[in-house]
Each structure stands twice: as structure tokens, then as C-alpha cells.
Symmetry: D3
Subunit: 159 residues, 6 copies
């Protein structure tokens, strides 16, 4: 009916929250990933004994989990939905920290943005904690890896 | 006094909010940038007439400005400070949307994280609006470009 | 059983959040409207070329959509429910800006307050942006126009 | 330098948070008012014995005070500032409830929007509590009455 | 499968939000209680005429109701669920204020933490209002009294 | 001038946010404590190897730090102020977890409530994580230990 390519806009180009009252609550899952590129001094610190690296990864993990719950506050056109399961996994590699988040819901919309928001905010929390050592730390490749559930079905990122 | 490399942890590795009561309120500024890589179908839509692309960039701009104000809520160890000026600029290029944010304050801490948070959330808002066309959209290179003010003085990202 | 005329109070007059666990989730919709009366200098600016009026209406639209999602935070006795669709329409007239919001949900309570909150906050956002030109701008007639769904059925404002 | 009439937009019409780092923290005050027009059945209930009307006015008063603190969350371009004093007064009249709020700060920006937000949200809270009796309740004339402090000095609403 | 005693941690000890997508939405209720121990000067003030004690109990009641709605923001691993009914009852005794909260939902998880959060924050609000008279006021015995609904069934606190 | 014993109420007993614009920003500190009484099965789990107890204490510490920043949202009459330093220390004892929080600011009001809120919410987060093992866990003796700074000077809890 409309040539509007953006589902979040009406035919006049005005932002709206898309009506999802007719969608069925079903189990939906999304997986997102990202990377925080760090210099060797930071990697060394993150791989040091537990007294040193301490709560760093826990803080980032929790920041990511909480951010998934705040998605509807951060993204103006996102819906308020139940957030029914969140994991945020962090792995320290030779040149940074890899972040993966899986979000699940049994509600009316997909949780792709919840998973990407969890990754982005966990990454920001890492930056916040390591930037005192090196301000050039950088967040890379925040992206959706896969989603399942809902009318549009499964999707996996092409390799 | 401590071997703790992370300023946000105490010597036992426990997270804390660093005491900044002794720091002087001064004018501080930070500039951050990032990029949302998009496929051609999205770029075409973003470059189409105003009725089509409509509020897309405004929504992202506003999401970024508001996120700068929420930094202390998103990042567990960030301080509550005044946020006294924020711009978020978006430019549609041939392969994506470039995001730059400048945040200014006259308070006790730097606003590097506020600027990076504004960029990351503006980028997430773009993803939210364009993912209906192509789910492989990706956020890249969220990073600090420069900061000024405060005891540690000026910093520019090495080229 | 009680002479208490206010459903939000118990028989002793104490505020409570009314128990709606027994209500059935159904599709519900509410339409609210309001008006921001502006002086001619503001109307002229709002009708000027796109470079000048720029994001003004988009900012107000987004503020309204986001406020609908915050209703349970703003109104102490409101329930946390899903907000499943929101539009905020703004029309610049000869003496102000007319605001209309439609909110839809598939949940346990009506969304009358969500629609009125969207209107009130969109109107406040307009005031925020135009008050630099004329502080006497005024919000008028924020009211419910119609509601449908739920046990109490349809209602239209009498003319 | 610019023909841009809106201080919240840049010369390209893009929304921004105006930089106030150069402004001096001084004591500023704003007074706003509004009115909730109610039918006689509601007025009777609001004038009944304390067991009946109970917490109604307290809920609205508190909602207004809290909303003043949330202004920077509700209005996208508002600054995060200290909110250092808020009163919300409610008076039941023959045809409604009159709302007046005074907000004070010792910070960098005026608090006109904080006072108007307090009035609007206190009014919404009243609507929420009385709409069960009559849905045609309406919020009228939310407006600034006076402001003082800051570079632009005192202002009183013309009669 | 795991020796992990904490349901909120995975087998490596990492915090996660437990996946509840497979749980059935059913009516669940939780009752929590607590006590704010106050010195006689405060008790006298709380028992004085209505003009003096005024809104004190209403403020605490509303703070508790609102806190129940914020549980998922306050507790990092809590789920976003519907909060469908909340009462907070306060009773002034000879040596303090007794707080009881009942929270109900028709959703996927229990509301034990919502009820305990309502009690704790109502108690903090009382402390905030009376600490000007005596700083030694103290919150005691915030605890669950009973819960019903959900797979684990009914539970009452042993005497 | 008034017989009103509660500083947060006006002479008519109405809640207000006390005007602190005339107070001087100075360094202020508050220390609060509390205790989460746990059964032996929980203490054993909390004292087990790091893989088991994992993030439990980190989650509670972070919940407490973040809650200190939310005090003005949780307590209706609290002021928005800068929160410039927060620690939350947790110690597992033979019969529970002891919580101590120190909050510092260089602003216009004391931070007693911020410290008590940090303790109460850290305690609630512990309850949330251990209640799966024993629902009878209980929060005890949330109280102010000491404060310094501000016009009223130093205070230590009498032994």
C-alpha cells in the first residue's frame, strides 16, 4: 500500500511505534556479538591474577544484562516487552574481549535489538574500565549472529 | 601504593565508584565516532526523498543525545554528573552512516564515556530502524577521537 | 461493598495498585488529544522552510512515544503493561500545534493514561523548544477522545 | 550568525542539547500552573471525608515532585541539572483541581520546564485516579506563571 | 547436571538472567514485611494530628508501590514482568512503623523480590522523612512472609 | 515558625522537596551498614570455590553502587545531586553477609540516604540470588553508622 521502505515510519515519514497487538506471543531468541579491541597492556591486566582483574568481567556482564532490559528506554521506537532470559559471555583473546549475548523472550516481538544492546553496553562498560590504561580502545563489529522464532522465522548471518 | 592496574577496582579487585570529590569542576569535552555499515538497499532508502527517509536520522540523533544523559545508569561505575551540551551528527555515506558525538560538561569528570555511549546508542537506533530491510547491518569502530579539559589534559587519537 | 468512590484507594483511603490479575489480556486502544497554543512568531517559525523548523516536530513526536512507555513510572498507581503500538500526530495550525496520540496494547488494562501521557509530554517537548521565542505558550485541553476494548467497552467523548 | 529561530536546533535544523557550560550556576526559580476540569461527581468525592478522598492529593503531589526530577529524561533536549527544591500545591475548586508548582535550582539553566512538567504530571495523576468516575476529565492551561534568576532575568506572565 | 548451587549463575559461576520462556504465566502472589524502628520522639510525631504527620505515610506507601515496579531495574538478574497489583500497608506501633506489602502478577515468575523491594523502599522512604529527628532509625527484618502460585507452589514462613 | 516536626512536610502536612539552593556544596560522606541473615546451606555455597560462588558478591556490589545513584528516583522527596564516590563492601560471616557502603559527594545535601539505599539494594540482590536455596533469608539492621560534612557536622552511631 505504501512505498515507505522503513517499517518504523508511516507513509509521511513520521516515526511511530509499529502496532504489534496482532502478533502472537511465541518463544523468540536472538544472538549478537561484538569485540572490544585492546592494546597489550590491557590484555595483560585482564589476564593477570584474580585479585587484579577482579570484577571487570562481572561488571561488563551485568551491564549487558541490565541493558537488555532497558532496550525500550534506549531505542525510541522499541516496544515494551518481557525479557525472559539473557546471557552475556566475555572471552579475553590476544587482542581484545569478545562479547556474545543471547536474549530470549516469550512475547510479541523479536529480541534482536535487546541482544545487540546488551553487547554494545557490555562493550562500553569494558571501555569504561580499561580506558584509564589506553584511551584508544575501540568497539568493533556489533552485529546480529542469528535469530529464531516469530513469523519471519530463523535467520543466520551469512559467513 | 597498589599494583591494581584498573582504577575502577580496589586492591582486592572489587568494583567501586572512584571518589572524585577532590576533583575540580572544569569545562571538559569529548568527541567520539562510529559507523553503521549498511547494504545498498538501505543506503538508497536513506538517500531517497524526505517523505521516505523521514524521521530516521532525527530518531537516531535524539536517541544518542538522550543516551549521553543516561550514561551513569548504563555503566555501573560511572558518576552522576551534569551533562551540559551534546551534539550527535549523522552522515549517510556510500556504505553506511557515520556517527559523531561531542559532549561537554562543566563538572568533575571527563565525558568520554558519555560521547561513546551517545554514538553507540545512536548507532543501535539506526540498526533498529533499518534491520527490517537487511539484518546484516553492523556497528563498527565506536571510539574516542579526542578529549580536552581535566587534569589529564588534551588527547587526540593517533592516526 | 465499600463507599469508596476512587478505585485506586482502599476503603481506608490508602493508595494501592488495583489488582488486575483476573482481567483478560485483550486488544485495547485509546485516543487522546491536546493543543499547544502559540503566538504568531512561533507559528511562522514552525511553518518556515525545512532547514529552520527542522527536527522540532520529530523531537516532540519521539518524546510522546517514549512517554507512553514511561507511564507506569510517571503515574504512581499505574500498572506495568506491554505497550504494543503508539502514534503521535502533530499538526501546525494558525494558532498552535494540535497533538493526537493513539496507543494500543494487547494486555490487561486500558491505555487511556498512556495516550494522555504521550500527548502531555509531546506538548511539553514543543513548549521546551519554542519557549525561547515566547514564554507565554500554553498547553490546553489534554483529554481522552475515545477508547475501545476491555470489559467497559467503547467510549467516545461526548461533543 | 544564523537565521535559525529555534535555539534547540543547529543551523541545519538538527536537534542538539545547547551547550551551557559557559553559564553560571545561580539560583533560579520557576512557577507553573494548570487545571484539571472535573464533573460534579468527582468534586463531591474530592470534598468528602478524609477516609474517602484519602491519598488522592498526596499521590498527585508526589507524582509532580518526582516528575520535576525526571524532566531531563522526558524532554529529549533538556539538560541534566540539580533540582534543589520543588513544591506542588493542589486546590479543589467548584469545577476542578488547580495545580501550582514552584521549582528552584542553583544550577546552570532555568527550571521552567521542570515546573511545567511537575504540573502536567500531577494533573495526569489526578486524571488517572478520577477517570473511573468520569472519563471526560480534562487538563487545561498548563503554563508558566513566572520565572526569576539567570541571565534573562525575571518574567511574569502578562495578565 | 551441574553442582552450581546458585540458580542465577551458570556452571562457570557467571551471572545470567535465568531463561523463563518455558514457564507458564499464572497468578502468583507474595507477601513481605519489615519494620522501621524509631525513637519515641518520632513515634509521637507520627501519632500527632493529621496536619503534622500529613503525607508521611502516603509518601512511603507510594514509594513502596513504585519500587515494586522498578524491581527489574534495581536487581540485575531480575526479569521484566508485568506487575498487576500492589498494596503497601503501614502501621505505626509503639516503637516503629510496621510495613507489609502484597504483590500480585499473572506472569512467568514469582514476585517475592517485588514484595521485598516494596517493603525495603517504603522503609527507606520513612527513614528519609524521620531522620531529621533521629538519625539512629533502623530498618529491621525485611523478609518474605508467604508466596503462592507457580510451579514451586505455596510457601509460608516458619514461625 | 511552625510546629511541623517533619522537615519534608510544610505546615499543612503536605510533602515537598525541601529547598536547598542556599546550602553550600561541600564534601560530605555517609557510612551505612546492614546484614543478610542466611542459613548454613547458603553460607556453605558462598564459601565454596570460586567457580560456584562466582559473580554473587559482584552482582550485589554493583547493584548497591547503582542504587546509590538512583536514590532520587526511589525516594520521592530526595534531591538530584552528584554522587561522587561509592564503595559497597560485603563480608561472608558464619551466619550471613555483612554489607557496608560509603558514599561521598561534593554537593548540597548529605548522602545518608544514598548509603542506606546502597546497603538495602545490595542486600536485596543477595536475597534474590540465594532465595532459591532458602526463602527464609532476611535483611537486618539497615542503619546509618556515621556521617560527616555539611552544616550539621559529624555524627557517629551511639554504641
Amino acid at each position: 500500500m505504501s512505498d515507505q521502505p522503513f517499517t518504523h515510519l508511516d507513509s509521511a515519514g513520521q516515526a511511530r511505534m509499529v502496532d504489534v497487538t496482532a502478533k502472537t506471543p511465541t518463544v523468540r531468541e536472538a544472538t549478537a556479538a561484538g569485540f572490544v579491541r585492546c592494546s597489550p597492556v590491557i590484555i595483560d591486566a585482564l589476564r593477570s591474577g584474580s585479585a587484579s582483574k577482579g570484577d571487570v568481567l562481572a561488571v561488563a556482564r551485568i551491564a549487558g544484562i541490565q541493558a537488555a532490559k532497558r532496550t525500550a528506554e534506549l531505542l525510541p521506537l522499541a516496544h515494551i516487552i518481557g525479557v525472559h532470559g539473557v546471557t552475556v559471555d566475555l572471552e579475553v583473546t590476544d587482542d581484545g574481549v569478545a562479547v556474545v549475548s543471547i536474549v530470549r523472550t516469550a512475547d510479541r516481538t523479536g529480541v534482536e535489538m535487546e541482544a545487540m544492546t546488551a553487547v554494545a553496553v557490555a562493550a562500553l562498560a569494558i571501555v569504561d574500565m580499561v580506558k584509564g590504561m589506553d584511551k584508544s580502545v575501540q568497539i568493533e563489529n556489533v552485529r546480529l549472529l542469528a535469530k529464531s522464532g516469530g513469523r519471519s522465522g530463523d535467520w543466520h548471518r551469512p559467513e
